[in-house]
Each structure stands twice: as structure tokens, then as C-alpha cells.
């Protein structure tokens, strides 16, 4: 009878520190992971639809599950359609919008896409709200970021309508094809969000 408690205590004494060490190591890894992500995605400054300057990683990406698409406000076909599709996805995941779900629309045409133009575009789609940022700004900064996201092309007209989604903390990224339907996209995002909970 006395052995059990002592066993328990021994276990506790051994296991708890081990667990603590493991979680400390896990935390250490998480911090490393974040730093790696920060230096990869950069904290270059962009400008949101309200004209505010934001740092790309810390203000837009960190701790979020992001859905990224690429637009330019003078695009009259593909961009409105893609954005519209994403609003349908958003409607299915209302509870998560803003936390942790973050929609990010990046301008491929920052010279013409003023913040006011981005806001106008966002409003047309009822997409001007917390949890959806429309980003424009310095052309070089956008080039760098778009390249990092693997979506760079010199020809704006031929731009990829591919979308990206990712759980930033987990560094788990997926592509979303332009022809995928909202229910399927929403399901993919749900799984990305769940990822975070299993860590």
C-alpha cells in the first residue's frame, strides 16, 4: 500500500519534469518556428485598405490561419469572381473570421491600387471588415512578398488565380485551385484550423 504512493511520487517526480522539459522544448521550437516564419515572410511594410501601414508578418500573418488571394482593382473578370467565391467561404466560417481566420488580398498593381481603391473593391464585395485585409503599398515590398509566396509573374494579366491557405504557426500550407467550390474550400480551412489544436 505504501509502495503505490511512492511509485506515484516517483513517477510524478520523474515524469513531470520530463513533461515540462518536453513542453519547454516544444515551446522553444514554436518560438524558433515563429522566428523562421517571420524572417521568411518578412516584416516589410504594406498599406491596408484604411491607409494604415502594417508589417506583413507581425500584423497580418502571425498566429493566423490565412487565406491569400491576388487581385488588382482594375481586373474586371477573374478577381471579382475569386473574391466573391471567398466571401461565400467566409460566410460558411463566420465564427472564425478574424480569429484565427484571416483573409488576405494582395495587390498585383500597387501603383494603381490606392488604399481608397482597395477599400472600394472590398466594399463592393462586402469584404471590408475585421479579418479581411486588402494590402497595397510599396511596389518593391509587394514584389518581394509575392515572390516569397511563389506567385510572382511579370505579366499582371496572366496572374495566377491560385489561392493559398496556411496555418502560419504550424507552417502547414495548401494551395486552393480557382475552380474549387466554397464548401470544399471551407472544409480545407477547417482542417487547417484544427491543426493548431493538436500541437
Amino acid at each position: 500500500m505504501m509502495r503505490l504512493p511512492r511509485l506515484l511520487i516517483t513517477l510524478v517526480v520523474i515524469v513531470l519534469p520530463a513533461l515540462a522539459a518536453m513542453s519547454a522544448q516544444a515551446q522553444g521550437t514554436a518560438a524558433d518556428e515563429e522566428e523562421r516564419a517571420r524572417s521568411y515572410f518578412t516584416n516589410l511594410e504594406l498599406v491596408n485598405q484604411d491607409g494604415q501601414t502594417v508589417q506583413f508578418f507581425d500584423d497580418v500573418m502571425k498566429d493566423k490561419v490565412v487565406v491569400i488571394n491576388f487581385i488588382f482593382t482594375n481586373c474586371k473578370g477573374a478577381c471579382p469572381l475569386m473574391t466573391h467565391k471567398l466571401t461565400l467561404v467566409r460566410d460558411k466560417l463566420e465564427a472564425y473570421v478574424g480569429e484565427p481566420l484571416q483573409f488576405v488580398s494582395l495587390s498585383l498593381d500597387p501603383e494603381r491600387d490606392t488604399p481608397a481603391a482597395m477599400k472600394e473593391f472590398a466594399k463592393t464585395h462586402n469584404a471590408d471588415h475585421d479579418g479581411w485585409v486588402f494590402l497595397t503599398g510599396d511596389a518593391d515590398n509587394l514584389d518581394t512578398i509575392i515572390k516569397k509566396l511563389g506567385q510572382y509573374t511579370d505579366d499582371m494579366e496572366a496572374h495566377s488565380t491560385m489561392m493559398l491557405a496556411g496555418n502560419v504557426n504550424d507552417a502547414h500550407w495548401i494551395k486552393i485551385l480557382p475552380q474549387e467550390q466554397p464548401p470544399a474550400i471551407a472544409e480545407k480551412l477547417r482542417r487547417l484550423m484544427e491543426d493548431g489544436e493538436t500541437t
Binding site: N74, C75, K76, G77, A78, P80, L81, T83, H84, E111, R112, T114, P115, A116, A117, T124, H125, D138, E157
Partner: protein
């Protein structure tokens, strides 16, 4: 009182004549109103066309990809692909056809890409095209064209507008107003210059308005301010144009941002008249919408470079162009060279330096060794004066040529050895001021309580307003941006009274193209020979 029915006893012929005349007058009136204000139905149609929304709130939706996707029409309004004027802009490999009524209903019909040909449209086949995506020849339209769903009343309204679109007025234009924009910096010295320019514009247009406007339209002047952060200026200008939708722009302080702003004028097809800048973007045949008043740095330098040497008429004169490194100056030098090359001149020597440091000793040695006898200097007059001092030490006395843009106080502080050898080119001189021109300018100041600070910039704004008003007047009541451009191109020897005469043409966009070359009288600190105007052609 007795009413005399005598008028009705006139002969039948005269009566018929009177009736015909009356009907013609009525028709004339109708024509004028037709080109002007939209009817209520047309306004509803315009709203559908530009925003995809029905005034009644009834749903308007678009089916894409052969019915696979349904979206609200507000996301893909007609204007996005077909343009404000119905003439279409290409995007993503799709070229929307011209849907103005004169095009749609052309008796000959059309043949489009991939062999799709069709006869003339009428209202019913147009409606069918919008709803079902087939043309008047029963061919399917390109998959990029959505099929729209809307109420029958909305469709009628939309068709009514499409029939009218080509006679709808340009932005910034209504029956009784024409909106003119002007861009000025908000802060700093440039800001206060801009403010002085704005007050002159406003006073000038107020005077016109108090006399009844131009062809029944009042001029509404809207100022657009910008901060001088270069990355943001183009955005601010773009937002201004989008939000204010000016019909045309007058004057404007564009020093340092000429390129992007004139590119915006081209993009939006907004006539821009008389922007204030030392660098008119001329020589670019793609540029149509910006009309400059006076010559700038490049033209002044060219006038100097191309002029014959004054001191001796040795035609084999050796010219050196000394300039600071930088894109603007590189371009200026290239332009100057293209004009003076092969002009009975030996090779022109060009020497650049890195601002702000100009090594006068080094340059004097180098240039004197190369037997340079004329130096065209694109830089601060104080640096040129240092070069002159070094040259005097070496016993080298070339002619010194300076564009008037660089002239500042202390202009005459050259070594006396250079008496008779220093020349400056100006784009305008006080001798351009006629008594009448001065009188009107002073009256404007008195009437509106203006002061005379920044008078150079004020004069520029004043003449810009004058030229724009003249163009609008000549375009007549049926005013459009295109007509304004065409009328401005017709201006020949237009006398503003405070500047050299202004002439444009279909290929010329600097009104007073050339410059006055003046010799400096160093001892008397005045200008020697009366300035002779040297006209440039290119």
C-alpha cells in the same frame, strides 16, 4: 382689354412657315437636351450599367461560365469591361466589343473574331444578348460575357441607357457646370506657391462665373492637395481623379512629379492645361492630354547649345555640357544632343558630376585641356561661378551658358574676365507683359484682394486658366474632353498678355516652344542685349 386676333389672319403660307420654324426650333431644343441631361429612365439604366444595381432594389444577377456560377451583378457591372463610354477595354485576353448604339445598330452588322458575324442589333436582340448570351445572328457570345438576370423593367432601362451611352456627358460635366481640378502640394514653400496659384485660379473662374459662365456652364474649381512623399503622390492624385471626377485640370504645381501625373492624364484621358513645372514632358508622341505653357530646362538648354558662338564666328565651336548625374539630367542631355548633333559642331563633350559636390578645379583643368570654348552648365549658378573662377586662374575663357531655371540671386557674381561671355536662356521675360495684360492681372488682384507673392507661379496659373477657358469657349456648348483637346490643338499665336504667344498643334504640346537668350552685363548687373526669342522646332 381687347384681344386682337390679327396675328391669325396672316396668309396661310406665312403661317405654315411659322409652324415649320417653330418645329425646327423645338427639334433643335430637343437635340440639345438630348445630348445633355439623361431622362429618368436613362438614369436608372446608367445605374444598372455602372453598378449592376436596380434603383427598385430588385435583384440583378449574373451567370458566369455558362451558368455554372451565379453572382450578384454588382460584382461584374457592365462598365467594368465595356467602359464608361461603351467602347470597351481589353483585359485578360478578352476584348469586349463596342456596344455604343451606333455600332450595335450599324446596318452592315459586324464580323467578330472566330468568324462570328451578325446583322444589326435592335432593342429586342440586344435584350436577348444581355439575358441569354446570344447575338443578333443567334451565335453564342464569348464565354467571358455573363448572362444577366433582371426584371423586364430593369432591362428596358438598361437598354435605354445603352442607346444613349455615346452621347452621355463626360465626367465632371453637367448641363450647367463643368468641374475643373487642380493639384497643389499641401505644405512647405511649394505649398504656399500652390496656394497663391489656387487663389488666382479661383479668382479668374469666379470672374467668368459672375459673367454667366461659358456657354451656360459655371466653372466649379476643386483643389486636390498632395503631400510630398513621392510614393504617395501618385496615389493621392489618382484618388482625387477617381473621387472628384474633374472634366479637366488647370495649372497645378507638378515640379518633381511631372511624369506620373501626365501619365495619369493619359490613363484617364483628362485634358491637363498649363501645369507648372520646369520639365514639360514633351517629345513623347504618346502623350496627348497635357498642354504645357512655357519651355523648361531641356528647351532652355537646347536654345543655348544650338545658338552660334557669339565671341567669334568660328563655326567649329567645341561645346561641353556639364550636368549632375540623375535620370532627369541624363534624359535632358540625350535630348539636347539629339537636337544639336551634326549641327556644324565638333563632337560635344559631356561631363557629369555627383551632386552636391562639384569639383570646379578638376573640371576647369579637364575642359580647358580639351579646347572647350563653350560650357553649357546644368546646375547651380554658384557652382558655375566657381568653375569660372578656376577658369580665370588658368587663363581659359569659354562662353558660359546657363538655363534660366538655375538663375538665382547673385547671378551676376562672375569674374570680370567673363564680361560678355555669360548667357542665360529664359522661357519668358517681362517684355512679354503687354499693358493690357498687366492691367487685367492687376484688376484681378484688386477685385479679389490678392497679393503678389510668388508672382511667377501666379502668372503661370493665370495663363493656364486663360488658355483652358479659351479652349472650353471654342469647343462650344457641345463640350467633350476630345473636343477640348482638338480646340486646344488649334490654338495658334494665342496672346496671354503675360507670356510669349501660345501655339499648339496635333504634335506640339509646349505653347511657347523656345527661349530668350540674354547676355549678362556683369558690371552693371543687368541684362545686356534685349532678349531675342529663339524658336525651337521638334
Amino acid at each position: 382689354m381687347h384681344y386682337h386676333p390679327r396675328t391669325f389672319t396672316k396668309s396661310p403660307v406665312a403661317l405654315r412657315g411659322a409652324i415649320v420654324l417653330f418645329i425646327m426650333l423645338l427639334l433643335a431644343l430637343v437635340k440639345v437636351t438630348h445630348a445633355g441631361e439623361l431622362s429618368e429612365q436613362e438614369q436608372r439604366g446608367k445605374r444598372l450599367y455602372t453598378s449592376g444595381e436596380s434603383a427598385s432594389g430588385a435583384p440583378v444577377t449574373a451567370l458566369m461560365s455558362r451558368g455554372a456560377t451565379e453572382i450578384p451583378a454588382s460584382i461584374l457591372p457592365c462598365v467594368g469591361c465595356h467602359g464608361d463610354d461603351g467602347r470597351g477595354r481589353p483585359e485578360g485576353g478578352v476584348v469586349p466589343p463596342d456596344i455604343t448604339w451606333s455600332s450595335l445598330s450599324a446596318k452592315s452588322g459586324h464580323e467578330h473574331e472566330y468568324g462570328r458575324s451578325h446583322p444589326a442589333f435592335d432593342e429586342s436582340t440586344l435584350g436577348r444578348a444581355i439575358l441569354n448570351g446570344i447575338d443578333s445572328g443567334d451565335n453564342a457570345l464569348d464565354v467571358a460575357m455573363p448572362r444577366f438576370q433582371m426584371s423586364a423593367a430593369d432591362l428596358q432601362d438598361l437598354i435605354a441607357y445603352i442607346k444613349r451611352i455615346e452621347t452621355d456627358l463626360d465626367p465632371g460635366l453637367s448641363d450647367d457646370k463643368v468641374r475643373i481640378g487642380t493639384l497643389m502640394p499641401r505644405a512647405g514653400v511649394a505649398g504656399s506657391q500652390g496656394q497663391a496659384m489656387y487663389l488666382v485660379l479661383r479668382s479668374y473662374f469666379d470672374d467668368i462665373n459672375s459673367r454667366g459662365g461659358i456657354h451656360g456652364r459655371q466653372i466649379e474649381l476643386v483643389p486636390g492637395g498632395y503631400d510630398q512623399d513621392p510614393t504617395k503622390v501618385t496615389w493621392e492624385a489618382r484618388d482625387f481623379i477617381e473621387q472628384q471626377a474633374p472634366f479637366a485640370m488647370a495649372s497645378g504645381y507638378l515640379s518633381g512629379i511631372e511624369g506620373p501625373i501626365s501619365a495619369l492624364a493619359e490613363e484617364y484621358r483628362i485634358p491637363m492645361v498649363g501645369p507648372y513645372t520646369p520639365l514639360p514632358q514633351d517629345g513623347n508622341s504618346l502623350q496627348r492630354y497635357t498642354f504645357y505653357l512655357t519651355s523648361g530646362l531641356v528647351q532652355q538648354a537646347t536654345v543655348l547649345a544650338a545658338s552660334k558662338r557669339v565671341i567669334s564666328d568660328d563655326s567649329a565651336s567645341r561645346l561641353a555640357i556639364v550636368y549632375p548625374y540623375g535620370a532627369v539630367y541624363d534624359q535632358a542631355v540625350r535630348t539636347i544632343l539629339s537636337v544639336v548633333d551634326g549641327d556644324g559642331m565638333d563632337d560635344v563633350v559631356t561631363l557629369g558630376y555627383q551632386l552636391p559636390y562639384f569639383d570646379a578645379t578638376d573640371f576647369a583643368e579637364t575642359l580647358s585641356k580639351q579646347d572647350i570654348d563653350r560650357v553649357l552648365f546644368l546646375g547651380a549658378v554658384t557652382d558655375l561661378q566657381r568653375l569660372a573662377a578656376e577658369a580665370a586662374n588658368l587663363g581659359w575663357s569659354p562662353e558660359l551658358l546657363l538655363p534660366g531655371i538655375y538663375a538665382s540671386s547673385g547671378l551676376f557674381e562672375f569674374p570680370s574676365a567673363f564680361e560678355g561671355s555669360v548667357f542665360v536662356a529664359y522661357s519668358t521675360l517681362p517684355t512679354d507683359h503687354t499693358p493690357r495684360g498687366v492691367e487685367l492681372f492687376e484688376k484681378l488682384h484688386e477685385d479679389h484682394g490678392l497679393d503678389y507673392r510668388h508672382s511667377t507661379q501666379q502668372i503661370s496659373a493665370y495663363v493656364a486658366a486663360m488658355v483652358l477657358a479659351e479652349g472650353i469657349k471654342r469647343a462650344g456648348r457641345e463640350l467633350t474632353r476630345e473636343k477640348l483637346v482638338l480646340e486646344l490643338e488649334q490654338l495658334a499665336d494665342f496672346q496671354p498678355g503675360l507670356m510669349p504667344p501660345i501655339s499648339y498643334s496635333h504634335s506640339r504640346r509646349i505653347g511657347a516652344l523656345g527661349g530668350y537668350m540674354l547676355e549678362l552685363n556683369l558690371e552693371q548687373k543687368s541684362f545686356g542685349t534685349a532678349g531675342k526669342w529663339i524658336e525651337l522646332q521638334y
